[in-house]
């Protein structure tokens, strides 16, 4: 009885703002649309259209692979760096507290500000990045970072990693600090070197933190919207080089200002696919990653 009383409000909020929108997106994806007006039920025709007609089919695949790339590269440059920093910080070098604040600071900045600042830094004409390269006699490297299809997405990923780096660092650091000192000492007495301690003691016991960070990175990568939207606009410019699923969804469901029209049927279909993908992969991923976790005896 009390359980119902206490869980009730949360359930209602969850149902209204999470469950209902998901179900209505599912329903919307099965109707025909005329502008913003809903017409007849058409079953899976929107999905068929999404998969089979140009340009949607190509855009969907293009955006999906970009999300995969975002996930992989973020894992590689953000989370691996974070792990390295956490290992270093765990040894409490001089100024640890200062470093912790500095690494974590960008996480607290509003994403809008981060996007806006970096767009200024990366401006090809007066931006700091190209100015700095020119000063460093590397002017040949100066380029339109955000306007060049070969660098735009990677640049966004790096900016994103710069912003988020502090978060996995703190999580890993907390995980490392939670490793009981006796284990490390015991290993040392058994003659384990620095690297052995990290590899055989710390990493295995860090598995729960890794699970959380991998899952959050996955969900963040596949829902990635704000930063590309702020820095590149809704079209995935240039020429869809920074297009990701959320942008594609937003663009088709709500239209591009002064450019495109909304196609709510296709937009909802994309949303449903994204939800299904996130749910399945997160669930399977969670099970697989948990298996590797070792219980602290």
């Amino acid at each position: 009885m009390w359980l119902v009383f206490f869980l009730g409000p949360a359930t209602v909020v969850f149902a209204t703002f999470i469950t209902y929108p998901i179900l209505s997106a599912l329903a919307f994806s099965m109707y025909a649309w005329e502008g913003i007006g809903r017409r007849g039920f058409i079953g899976l025709a929107n999905f068929a259209r999404l998969f089979a007609t140009f340009p949607y089919s190509g855009l969907l695949v293009n955006a999906f692979w970009h999300n995969v790339l975002v996930f992989l590269v973020t894992m590689l440059i953000q989370n691996v760096t974070a792990l390295g920093l956490a290992v270093l910080l765990a040894r409490s070098p001089w100024g640890t507290r200062g470093y912790r604040v500095v690494f974590f600071l960008p996480v607290m900045l509003s994403l809008v500000i981060v996007g806006f600042l970096w767009a200024l830094f990366l401006n090809p004409i007066f931006g700091l990045v190209n100015k700095f390269l020119t000063l460093a006699h590397a002017g040949a490297l100066a380029r339109p970072w955000l306007g060049d299809a070969s660098t735009a997405l990677l640049t966004l990923i790096v900016v994103n990693a710069w912003r988020w780096l502090g978060f996995p660092t703190i999580v890993f650091l907390a995980g490392i600090n939670a490793v009981p000192e006796e284990y490390v000492e015991a290993a040392r007495i058994d003659g384990a070197g620095e690297w052995d301690v990290i590899r055989r003691i710390i990493f295995p016991l860090l598995a729960p933190a890794v699970t959380i960070i991998v899952l959050l990175t996955f969900i963040g990568s596949f829902n990635w919207f704000e930063l590309p939207y702020i820095m590149q606009g809704v079209s995935g410019a240039p020429n869809r080089a920074t297009d990701v699923l959320s942008l594609l969804f937003y663009r088709t469901a709500f239209g591009e200002v002064d450019t495109g029209l909304q196609d709510i049927g296709i937009g909802s279909a994309i949303a449903v696919l994204m939800f299904a993908l996130l749910l399945t992969v997160s669930a399977v991923g969670a099970v697989l990653l948990r298996r590797r976790e070792v219980e602290l005896a």
């Binding site: 913003i36 007609t53 090809p124 495109g260 029209l261």
Partner: protein, 410 residues
């Protein structure tokens, strides 16, 4: 005397009757001051009606408006875009139908502009057009004089002007490619003279040809002539940077729309500029100018104050409104007979006599994927060198065939 009498009489009458309060939604945040003044003028004439102008951020306007209308709410008066942007809201029945009986003023509007206020399916009118925009080339008169240059009459002369400027260390064109729509605007300026203006527009909208036509792809290829005269990193140059470059006299020319005039003047009072239109290949032929209906004022079909709302949009169709609009916002009002006092705007008006529809907006923005969506990203590919003009033509035609039947199988 009569004024005094009227003024004395109205408050008394109004006590028995609450004034009607209308809301007017728009995406023109920057124009609020002007609309507030226009509304004041309207309210003086119609004391029983109050209008509140509520602007939203342009990029979020459509989302906010769609949600409100589908929920059976929304403002009484709606600032609407034109063509397909109007159709999205009009076709499902959210916008009140208008006709010449209700708004006889509309009879005097040009047919081209009214076409931007019509539903494509039913051909009915849904709004009062507010402005017409033309796509032109801005040039800095001081920089031209310093380099002994005059306005080019032919395409080749234009290229010579660009080269001279570049040789003298001046950035000839402020334009960039980071935002695809600025490239579509550039194609709207450059291409019509080469694809043959309205004759091609008519043929392609009737389905007699497609964008694979060499007339069109060769016209797009002319944009590549301009590439050497843009900033070497132009693909990263966004719209705001383009504007800054021209306003701060860092670049000699700016290919853009007539809506910039007011902004350029406001940002740099000393900027001495004028416009010309894209020169044709042969001297002596009048060049084409892409132009279009910028948008419309419509009435929510579900407003409880239909009469008052109609009265307001009727006011937007009057010469008085058009004059205020043109004077304050430095834009060409859609109302016929408005006197243009701004010399540059007047120049735009004169040069736009040989107008051709801005091709994707007027002809192919009726359903998703729109011609503009397809063209913009493809043009980014073309300007970056990863696509040929032929591939752009193919892609646009193929994408449009999803809803434009004449292109199917082409």
């Amino acid at each position: 005397m009569i004024c005094l009498l009227v003024a004395g009489f109205y408050p008394a009458a109004a006590t028995g009757q609450q004034p009607v309060k209308l809301t007017f939604w728009s995406w023109r945040v920057e124009d609020k001051w002007a609309y507030d003044k226009i509304i004041q003028a309207f309210q003086q004439r119609n004391p029983g009606i109050q209008v509140e102008f509520v602007p939203f951020k342009a990029t979020e306007y459509n989302t906010i408006l769609s949600s409100a209308l589908t929920a059976g709410k929304g403002p009484d008066i709606i600032h609407l875009r034109a063509y397909g942007g109007l159709e999205t809201f009009a076709a499902p029945g959210y916008i009140a139908q208008l006709d010449f009986d209700k708004l006889p003023e509309l009879k005097t509007f040009s047919r081209q502009l009214l076409d931007g206020a019509r539903g494509r399916k039913d051909g009915k009118l849904y709004g009062v057009p507010f402005a017409t925009q033309s796509l032109v080339i801005y040039y800095n008169k001081k920089i031209f004089a310093q380099n002994n240059l005059s306005v080019p009459k032919t395409w080749d002369e234009f290229l010579t002007v660009l080269k001279t400027l570049k040789d003298h260390g001046v950035l000839p064109l402020a334009n960039g490619g980071k935002e695809g729509w600025t490239l579509e605007v550039m194609s709207g300026v450059v291409a019509p003279n080469f694809y043959g203006g309205t004759a091609f527009y008519d043929a392609v909208t009737r389905g007699q040809t497609s964008f694979k036509d060499t007339a069109y792809t060769n016209a797009l290829a002319k944009m590549l002539d301009l590439r050497p005269y843009m900033h070497p990193n132009f693909m990263g140059v966004d719209y705001t940077t383009m504007q800054q470059q021209f306003i701060n006299e860092q670049a000699a020319m700016f290919i853009g729309g007539s809506w910039e005039i007011g902004f350029f003047k406001a940002q740099n009072k000393d900027l001495d500029f004028d416009i010309f239109v894209a020169p044709p290949s042969k001297a002596g032929t009048t060049p084409w100018v892409s132009s279009y209906n910028d948008g419309n004022y419509g009435v929510n079909a579900k407003t409880p104050y239909m009469d008052a709302a109609l009265k307001f949009i009727q006011f937007t169709a009057t010469r008085e409104f058009g004059q205020m609009f043109t004077d304050m916002l430095a834009q060409l009002s859609a109302v016929p007979g408005v006197e243009v006092r701004d010399p540059i705007l007047k120049h735009v008006q004169e040069l736009s006599r040989k107008a051709t529809p801005y091709i994707m907006l007027v002809g192919f923005r009726w359903q998703a994927p729109t011609g503009s969506t397809l063209l913009q990203s493809a043009l980014q590919g073309m300007m970056a060198g990863s696509k040929t003009p032929e591939q752009v033509g193919d892609e646009v035609t193929k994408g449009l065939s999803a809803w434009f039947e004449p292109f199917q199988g082409r």
